[in-house]
């Protein structure tokens, strides 16, 4: 790959300095998102997936702080930018979609006001053109009769429509990168399906790169090109989405996929991962998963490196599932 990737994160560490101690929410995370590709960032609550997204956006608030690492956006290190420079990029070249669309939308302003303001904040264009852009963006995310809907207030939209408007706002400047943090988690299945279809179409046609943060492996399976699985602040497995989901290397990924009901025989006990996610405050040295891991051995007391066990297939494990591939369910 000779082209500069849209985003390259190298050894990112974002720590929170709380009263109870230092929480290493993101600890040595590296990944690359090429142009027009979708990276699925998967993890459970407390895995650091959202903080990773917020770090890329430069939206980490005290007591949190990026303590180390580079966030190279088309070659430019975002971690070194001033707040002012970051603000110019944000909403323009990089946009974010939240789980709650009301994080983006102002409840007391009409949609057109908000969208036109967003356009004018970064570009000097006549207002009529800004309005036209807003209307096109609404149309692009599948909102019927966008001209009329522009005049509505956010509360006049349903949850799914609100999320579409938030996505439309993110698209206004044709950003190079969108960070989406669980944007469909709160939505109903049929509405989620609609939005995923729109996003899929957009990624394919606009060349925008996406980081799709979610806990839902099934969503990533259909949407992403690559997948990175996070556990306790670190990426434990990374690679092509099909490869990882069909032949997971890391026991955690393996367990996660195994516990999905459709991967089990109906009515039989689900293959469960025992125990629970460790508190980031009391992490012991070594592999964070070893207390729950069926394959753990003594050497797991030492933190494994993220190692390329196969071309393009990284796993942070001393004893990955390298056996002959038999268990594609």
């Amino acid at each position: 790959m000779t082209e500069t990737p849209t985003l390259e994160v190298r050894n990112l560490r974002t720590h929170f300095f709380t009263r109870a101690g230092v929480v290493k929410a993101v600890d040595d995370v590296s990944f690359t998102v090429p142009r027009g590709k979708v990276l699925g960032l998967v993890g459970e609550s407390g895995s650091g997936k959202s903080v990773t997204g917020f770090s890329v956006m430069g939206l980490v608030d005290p007591p949190g702080r990026i303590v180390d690492g580079q966030i190279l956006f088309k070659g430019q290190d975002l971690a070194k930018l001033s707040d002012e420079e970051m603000r110019k990029l944000r909403g323009n070249r990089i946009a974010m979609i939240f789980q709650d669309p009301m994080m983006t939308l102002n409840p007391v302003l009409r949609v057109d006001t908000q969208m036109i303001e967003t356009v004018l904040a970064h570009e000097k264009v006549p207002e009529a053109e800004a309005r036209a852009r807003a209307r096109d963006a609404l149309g692009m995310v599948g909102i019927p009769s966008p001209e009329e809907r522009l005049k509505s207030y956010p509360h006049q939209f349903s949850g799914g429509m609100r999320q579409r408007v938030a996505i439309a706002i993110a698209l206004l400047h044709r950003p190079d990168l969108i960070v989406a943090d669980e944007p469909t988690t709160a939505l109903d299945v049929t509405i989620q399906g609609q939005i995923l279809a729109e996003v899929q179409k957009l990624a394919a046609t606009t060349g925008t790169s996406l980081i799709w943060i979610t806990h839902d492996l099934s969503v990533v399976a259909g949407l992403a090109d690559d997948i990175a699985v996070m556990y306790a602040g670190k990426i434990v497995e990374q690679g092509d989405v099909g490869e990882v989901l069909d032949h997971p290397l890391h026991p955690y990924t393996h367990g996660l996929i195994g516990s999905v009901p459709s991967r089990n025989r109906r009515g039989e006990p689900l293959r469960q991962i025992p125990g629970m996610t460790p508190s980031l405050l009391s992490l012991k040295p070594g592999c964070a998963f070893r207390a729950r891991c069926p394959r753990a051995q003594e050497d797991c007391a030492e933190m494994p490196e993220l190692h390329a066990w196969m071309p393009g297939r990284l796993a942070r494990c001393h004893h990955p599932h390298l056996e002959p591939r038999e268990e594609a369910a």
Partner: protein, 347 residues
């Protein structure tokens, strides 16, 4: 686990015995009454109306002893309201609820209390469903003590047993809910419900708020408890894969009405109603890679102002004139398989 395969084989239930729970024509309306100011405004010609939501609209439902019935639907379909009516928390506006053949409204005194205690509920939110100011021992043991299922002298042993059964270490019974993780809180909720020795459990999105790896643990707990205590479940969920995994029978709701019900296998192999089919198509599956997501058109209408006729007609790819005018009745299309769609008449 040493359970044999036979135990997990789909069970069959006879239709002749008295169902454990039966609903007949149950409706629940929520009305937003006009206050004084609104009444005045209306007198002056303002456009204010009393708003009535038909959360549940003439629903018939039977759950037989030992059965797991999955109740599926999207937001606003009334599944949670229905669950609360079944659990006896919410009164119905119309219709009758039968517990073991007896109309619940006619029960009094001890019989009424027994029927209520035997129907328990597990809630969705493991944070809001536990009283934050009570210790775990009291959360679990309060009701058994009040209802005389245990005595002060046996209280500790009783609570320990209940906690252990739900997979909790009794050593932590002096703690408060905020000191537990989401999965453990859900176990506390399960221990609390089982402590009054119920026969019937309503699970309202009981695993929806949990992490994937914890969901599997709780689902396994539900299945183990069902076997050990011979429980009957009404399992409410929006997650079709969860429902498919543990239900014997599935009921699909849309905007307050039941649109289809059938044994689980049938629903997932040969769904009849167009809504069920589009629901099944919309579910992202881990097996589907980089595949175009299939799409049902349109939004879920507001339950305040549902479409005429069949509620699904504006989104239905197969809708015809009759669907706009007339609400289809729930009819048997095969033994044990009922669906509410006009297309079945045409065929």
């Amino acid at each position: 686990m040493s359970a044999s395969l036979a135990e997990h084989a789909p069970r069959t239930f006879s239709d002749t015995e008295t169902p454990m729970v039966e609903l007949r024509g149950v409706s629940r309306r929520f009305a937003k009454k006009l206050d004084l100011a609104a009444k005045l405004a209306r007198k002056l010609g303002a456009d204010v109306k009393e708003e009535v939501v038909h959360a549940v609209d003439k629903v018939d439902l039977r759950v037989r002893k030992g059965e797991v019935v999955g109740l599926v639907g999207e937001s606003g379909c009334g599944k949670s309201t229905l669950g609360r009516i079944v659990a006896g928390i919410l009164p119905q506006s119309d219709g009758e609820v039968f517990w073991k053949g007896q109309e619940v409204g006619t029960l009094t005194g001890e019989a009424a209390r027994q029927s209520k205690l035997q129907r328990q509920m597990i809630f969705q939110d493991p944070y809001a469903s536990l009283n934050p100011r009570m210790r775990v021992a009291d959360i679990v043991g309060e009701a058994p003590l009040v209802h005389g299922l245990t005595r002060r002298s046996e209280f500790d042993t009783y609570v320990d047993d209940q906690m252990r059964r739900a997979g909790l270490d009794p050593a932590f019974k002096r703690r408060y809910p905020h000191q537990f993780s989401g999965g453990q809180r859900q176990r506390i909720g399960i221990a609390r419900a089982l402590a009054v020795q119920p026969e019937f459990i309503v699970c309202d999105e009981a695993v929806a708020a949990l992490d994937v790896s914890i969901q599997a643990q709780i689902l396994n707990l539900f299945m183990r408890l069902r076997r050990e205590l011979d429980l009957t479940y009404l399992f409410i969920s929006h997650d079709l894969s969860v429902v498919e995994h543990l239900s014997d029978r599935v009921v699909i709701m849309y905007l307050g009405r039941v649109v289809e019900e059938a044994p689980t296998e049938t629903i997932f192999r040969r769904a009849n109603h167009p809504y069920t089919r589009s629901l099944l198509d919309s579910v992202p599956r881990i097996e589907n890679r980089k595949r175009a997501f299939t799409v049902v058109k349109g939004e879920i209408p507001s339950p305040l102002n549902p479409p005429t006729g069949c509620h699904f007609h504006p989104r239905c790819p197969l809708a015809f004139d009759r669907c706009k005018a007339e609400a289809p009745a729930l009819r048997e299309v095969a033994p044990g398989h009922r669906s509410a769609c006009h297309l079945n008449d045409a065929a």
